[in-house]
Amino acid sequence: MAGVQITATLTARAERWARKRQGTDHRAIRLRSRRIYILPTGVGAVFALMTFAMLLGSMNYNNNLSFVLTFLLAGLGFVAMHQCQRNLVDLEVSFAGADPVFAGQTAQFRIAVTNYSKHRRYNLQLFADAVRGDIRDLGPGESRVFQLGVPTRQRGLVRLERYGIRTLFPFELFRAWAWLHMDLSSLVYPNPADPAPLPPPSQTAHGHRQHDARGEEDFAGFRQFHDGDSPRHVAWKAYARSNELLSKQFAGADTSSQWFDFDRVNDDDTEARLSILTRWIVDADRTQRDFGLRIPGTEIQPAHGDTHRHRCLEALAMFNATNRIKAAA
């Protein structure tokens, strides 16, 4: 256990040192050999021991052919070391975006890696702390987007202060890597609560005006039926004619727009409220219903569409987010 702790301490120190040495990186970086580190792996250590044992054997028997084999292995080790480091040099690494996710899901950071040289780069892998990406190659002149999935637990911003690209090529005797400090982050929406009924219309209309179902409002036209529309508004006659479900729209009573109000969620806990609001937004968005969001300090007018959904969810994610900076996994 002590060994693990020492390793962890050393790693943390090395990381701090590298950060201090390299500074913060731009969003697109050409990997220079200055920032590529290399250390032997466990297999490399075993290989070195084996080669040393063979050297002793060769010396003992003064056997010049086994000297050849021993030195060939040693030479191969040296070559592998340089090849391993060179496998990373002059790659271009750039941030290619990350999509927001709900808390509990895995945030996928997209990192584009480009190989401008005429030779193939083998077995490249992105990593960050405990996270490992897929191992992939880059052909000559090829550019590929690598995904780095970072698990999330809490809403807010998931931060990726540091990630790395590494390779074990050719013989897994050495591990070469580069740390990149791009201070990336991605938005994490609150985790949607269990499916919950939308708030009753009584709570939704602006000014608490109750919708009168008896239809005093002026008929304003038809629109496509969505889940949640009242069956009383369905144009059944039109349905009989065209087999198309349409809802009657009435002016003066926007029945499809709802307000989701933080203060009116029936729960004491802030996070639970945010979760329920998230659920409502997700469901409302799925039914293409207009909705507005009101949380302390923010009010978003009813609308629909992906941008609106994102605006609302972002507001929820970042609600009182000053204390959520460390939300990263």
Binding site: L65, G75, H82
Partner: protein
């Protein structure tokens, strides 16, 4: 539900290469290993491949344990030991077979590849032929390929992997060479572990019965090679002295186990010219060390001289061994031989054996009148009477000397030597048998002498007062051509055929000699690159007083330089190519036009401007501009770049339009 323990086929890409590499590394061991090991390895390899292919289960743990126990017991039973190269490589093979049965992950294959490398190493410890080097390289090639294959993605072709492995080995080659040359060699081993290379002791034995040497005569194997520093002695003086036998039981001659005798060296008195030479002995697993007659000096560690001036080494000669020696062909030894030694060692004959020989000797001694006359009479008897020299003498039964001298009269050197020594003893002259080699042929393809097992010979030494031990070779009387031109030459003549020797075609024989010359160089320079050779080579390279410090320093420097070179090669390899060939060509075009581009001017504006100034043919300028734009900004297409190249090359500006009126800065067109 997924079957428990079923393989997932993830090794399908890498396993075959691991198997190929392992099998290849095992090939040189097959002839030394019990058949069951080879068979079980192949069975395990094939079985493992099928398991992976058909996604079956690996054998259960208890079965693997049972197989492992059986394997180790089997190896122990076959070799009765677990140390040494033989059992070691057998154990490696068994381990590889067992490891295969539990290889589940990619990483398990590391163990298999390391075993493969150890198997190559073991085969090199066992034998170092010329083909061992290509074998080593091929084995490493396969191993690196398998190694790379283990982690490489499936989209990479095997040719690509092979190329990568080859490239890495090629980079490693100069490093290997530098380390091999400069790594300081030491003379003495740290610990002595005998290398059991599976071969029984070969060459001369330390006893002699009829038939012993004639069986050797059929072997073409090299016993040792000799480089003479001075001129080689004539064939009839090429006696390579080995074991000395003095005890006779009526049929078999044996000697004493030799112990170092410091007085033996002192009792030699030499005269005449010394012969200096170097002997490179093939391993015999015996202690005998051969030199020209009685050596005056011999530079071999742990070698000593026995009481009968025979030379031995404390350790059996278990690998090729080279030593320098000096011999004088004129010498006298043991001028005073004690009465005890005479009667107890050199005059004893078993009672009641070979009575007719004893009677004949006594009678001839009486007739001759003197010891010297008696010796020459007996030698003459072998020469003049009807004795035959043959490799296939008839069986002799009891009293073999009697039967040989009076009945069969057909024999090989051991028969003559034995009969002669018995006759000497019967007449009261101390005598003993010497085993060794007689002859040796100079290799015309190179400047050294080959002594083969077929040159094995037996002769006698007779002691006379005042003169000491004298060599007497009755075979020389019977078959003088054997002594004068050697065994190898004799086989081409009629004599060879009559001895039952095969006579290979002359060209084949010459080919063999050439091959032997190559082998001798290989042995001398590659295998024999020890402390002395290294010292010599360092001096040749210009190092004064080579020491291990200097060599280690040179090693370090050369390795660092080579690593720097490899690093540079790799830097160049992965440097992005010169980005803008098109821009370079366009700049060349601008230079040819002679009018500089203005800053911020697009190529089309530039083209229009120079066309307006009538500095160049408009069509060509427009074509070049189009190609340039296509090559630089269009979709990647080698054609437009080629066209641009051609167009720029063929472009000629109108000379009158060349003007220096536009001193704008020369700038890269964008």
């Amino acid at each position: 539900m997924k079957k428990r323990n079923g393989t997932d086929g993830s090794l399908l890409a890498s396993l075959p290469w691991t198997l190929v590499a392992l099998t290849f590394s095992l090939i040189p061991h097959v002839q030394y290993m019990p058949v069951w090991i080879t068979v079980s390895f192949l069975a395990c390899a094939a079985g493992r491949w099928l398991i992976e292919k058909q996604r079956r289960r690996l054998p259960p743990a208890w079965l693997r344990v049972v197989l492992a126990l059986a394997g180790f017991i089997g190896v122990f039973a076959s070799y009765e030991s677990v140390s040494g190269v033989g059992p070691g490589s057998a154990l490696l093979a068994v381990m590889a077979a067992l490891k295969l049965l539990e290889t589940r992950q990619r990483r398990d294959q590391f163990v298999l590849l390391f075993i493969s490398i150890f198997l190559i190493m073991a085969s090199l410890l066992r034998e170092q032929y010329i083909w061992s080097l290509p074998f080593l390289i091929a084995g490493m090639m396969l191993t690196t390929t398998a190694w790379l294959r283990m982690s490489i993605s499936t989209e990479v072709s095997i040719c690509d992997t092979f190329g990568t492995g080859g490239r890495l080995l090629l980079y490693a080659a100069p490093l290997t060479l530098a380390m091999w040359i400069f790594f300081p060699r030491i003379a003495t081993p740290f610990w002595a572990v005998p290398i059991d290379n599976g071969s029984a002791s070969s060459g001369l034995n330390d006893q002699m019965s009829p038939g012993d040497i004639s069986s050797l005569s059929l072997s073409d194997a090299v016993a040792f090679r000799v480089n003479f520093r001075s001129s080689a002695p004539p064939p009839r003086q090429r006696y390579w002295r080995g074991p000395v036998l003095h005890r006779f039981n009526g049929r078999t001659w044996t000697g004493n186990e030799a112990t170092p005798d410091l007085r033996a060296q002192d009792s030699i008195q030499v005269s005449g010219e010394p012969v200096e030479y170097q002997v490179t002995m093939e391993p015999t697993q015996q202690q005998w060390v051969f030199a020209l007659d009685i050596p005056y000096e011999l530079s071999l560690e742990e070698a000593f001289m026995g009481p009968q001036q025979q030379v031995l080494r404390a350790q059996p000669v278990d690998r090729r061994t080279a030593y320098d020696a000096v011999s004088y062909l004129d010498y006298r030894t043991n001028v005073d031989l004690s009465q005890t030694a005479r009667s107890w060692w050199y005059l004893r004959l078993p009672d009641d054996s070979n009575p007719r020989t004893v009677a004949l000797a006594k009678q001839m001694h009486l007739v001759a009148g003197s010891d010297k006359a008696f010796i020459s009479d007996v030698l003459d008897m072998f020469g003049k009477e009807e004795f035959f020299y043959t490799l296939e003498p008839p069986a002799l039964g009891s009293n073999p000397v009697d039967r040989f001298l009076f009945d069969t009269r057909q024999g090989f050197c051991e028969h003559y030597a034995s009969a002669f020594a018995v006759m000497m003893r019967a007449a009261g002259l101390p005598s003993r048998i010497v085993l060794g080699y007689q002859g040796g042929e100079m290799n015309p393809m190179s400047d050294y002498m080959i002594v083969r097992q077929s040159d094995a010979h037996a002769w006698t030494e007779v002691w006379l007062p005042e003169e000491g031990w004298l060599r007497a070779d009755p075979t020389a009387s019977v078959a003088p051509e054997r002594i004068n031109s050697g065994m190898s030459a004799a086989r081409f003549g009629d004599a060879g055929a009559s001895w039952g020797l095969r006579a290979p075609a002359q060209w084949l024989y010459n080919l063999g000699l050439t091959w032997d010359a190559v082998n001798a160089k290989w042995n001398g320079w590659i295998l024999g690159y020890g402390p002395e050779n290294q010292n010599r080579f360092m001096q040749w390279l210009g190092m004064d007083e080579p020491s291990w410090r200097k060599m280690a320093l040179t090693l370090l420097v050369s390795v660092l330089v080579l690593i720097g070179g490899i690093s540079f090669l790799l830097v160049r390899r992965y440097r992005p190519p010169q980005k803008d060939e098109a821009a370079r060509l366009y700049l060349k075009f601008v230079r040819k036009v002679g009018i500089r581009t203005r800053s911020g001017e697009t190529p089309r504006e530039y083209a229009a401007r120079i066309a307006a100034q009538n500095a160049a043919p408009a069509t060509e300028v427009n074509a070049i501009t189009d190609w340039y734009l296509a090559a630089r900004y269009g979709p990647p297409d080698a054609r437009s770049l080629e066209a641009l190249q051609d167009a720029v090359r063929d472009f000629r500006a109108i000379s009158s339009g060349r003007s220096n009126n536009h001193p704008e800065t020369l700038q890269k067109a964008t």
